[in-house]
């Protein structure tokens, strides 16, 4: 059964690559525009071998990790804190929603003004995107936890801390994890765009720089890497997380 699933997952790509090879091989399109798969594979191997690909992948991933590691705990903590105060929460919600709407990449000129070019600005973009989205979702998630549950715990003699840790946080978890998924999605895209503009390492830089030299094969290697990294994150990080939190707490069945 497992083999059938793997086949079903890879066959479409095999067909796509086959069609690609046919079009490129037919010579209708110049190699500069559509390099054949063999060329792309060769360049991928070269980049991997001399460490360039690893360098750029590591740079991008490092920024993601740093931004997520700092912003998520901060956003969740703040979200819970703000949600506990009714009026503050009512006010904060639209403001945070507005900052959410302010897309990550729109912060870049301001970030460059403040921090200059380089990893600081780019990581700031990612941090921003993740922070506000997770903050917002935590806020909304906690506010939607039915009061009944809080009262129940308090009636049974639980402390404030109990309420937060055992009622509010678990109750808000589906929303928080959804926020994490969305923010990683938005953030990853903003990161790639920011790397094109404001720094000299990372996958975004790799493909944008390659465009200057018309190196379409390098660009395609970068594009595939970007897509694969996201799919891996989805499969290895987000879906297990969703399974353990959302599905465990009996709410929305984590979809595709």
């Amino acid at each position: 059964m497992r083999a059938a699933t793997v086949l079903r997952g890879t066959l479409p790509f095999a067909v796509l690559v086959g069609a690609w090879a046919l079009v490129a091989g037919a010579g209708a399109v110049p190699a500069m525009f559509l390099p054949p798969p063999a060329d792309v594979a060769r360049v991928a191997w070269e980049l991997a071998r001399d460490g360039a690909l690893a360098l750029h992948v590591a740079a991008s991933l490092a920024r993601v990790l740093v931004a997520v590691a700092v912003s998520v705990p901060l956003a969740v903590a703040l979200g819970v804190l703000v949600a506990l105060h009714r009026r503050l929460a009512a006010v904060a919600e639209p403001i945070v929603a507005f900052f959410n709407a302010l897309s990550g990449i729109a912060w870049l000129p301001l970030a460059v003004t403040w921090f200059g070019l380089g990893w600081a600005s780019v990581t700031f973009i990612m941090f921003n995107t993740v922070f506000f989205l997770v903050f917002f979702n935590t806020l909304v998630g906690v506010r939607l936890v039915p009061r009944l549950f809080e009262h129940a715990v308090l009636t049974l003699g639980g402390s404030r801390r109990h309420v937060i840790l055992h009622v509010l946080l678990p109750g808000a978890l589906p929303s928080i994890v959804t926020g994490l998924r969305l923010s990683l999605g938005f953030g990853w895209r903003a990161l790639i765009a920011a790397e094109m503009i404001a720094t000299s390492t990372g996958l975004g830089f790799l493909i944008y720089n390659a465009a200057n030299f018309h190196q379409s094969d390098t660009i395609l290697v970068g594009i595939v890497t970007i897509g694969v990294l996201w799919l891996l994150t989805d499969r290895l990080v987000l879906q297990p997380l969703e399974r353990r939190t959302i599905e465990r707490w009996g709410l929305v069945a984590a979809g595709s």
Partner: protein
């Protein structure tokens, strides 16, 4: 649909918003179309009837920025800038009328026939005139060099 249902539909925020936008856009188009002829100098208006291609001086209410220069370049050849006036050469008659519709243009007059020097006249505009990111890609879709990464002002000298 019965009248009450129509009214309720109109009150819905989406429909109301779209209607408001449509009305505003139509009103604006009308306004610009009506106001355009006033910006043309009478002498110019007469010449437009005779000549298909003219040279004009476009007077703005402010020193033009790179944005405006680029916009003018889509319609003609920018020969020079002096203060708040731009000298624009080889403009087609219909483009003159199109330019006249911009609300930020004060006046368009016929240019003197004497050729003005092109080089150096650009810097006459005082203050912070951002020459900005001098890449192509506007409505004409020219394809010059790629933009440098941020903070490197390109094309600041002409």
């Amino acid at each position: 649909m019965r009248p009450r249902r129509v009214v309720r539909l109109l009150r819905h925020r989406t429909v109301a918003f779209l209607l408001a936008v449509a009305v505003a856009a139509a009103g604006w188009e009308l306004f610009t179309a009506l106001a355009a002829p006033r910006r043309l100098d009478p002498a110019l208006a007469a010449r437009l009837a005779r000549e298909p291609v003219v040279s004009v001086t476009v007077t703005l209410g402010f020193a033009p920025e790179d944005f405006h220069i680029r916009l003018f370049q889509a319609h003609g050849v920018v020969r020079g800038v002096r203060g708040t006036t731009v000298l624009l050469d080889r403009v087609r008659a219909e483009d003159v009328r199109r330019l006249a519709r911009y609300y930020w243009i004060r006046r368009i007059a016929a240019a003197d026939l004497v050729e003005t020097p092109a080089a150096g006249a650009r810097s006459a505009a005082g203050g912070a005139e951002p020459a900005g990111n001098d890449t192509g890609g506007g409505p004409t879709g020219r394809t010059p060099t790629p933009p440098a990464p941020a903070a490197l002002p390109r094309g600041t000298t002409r």
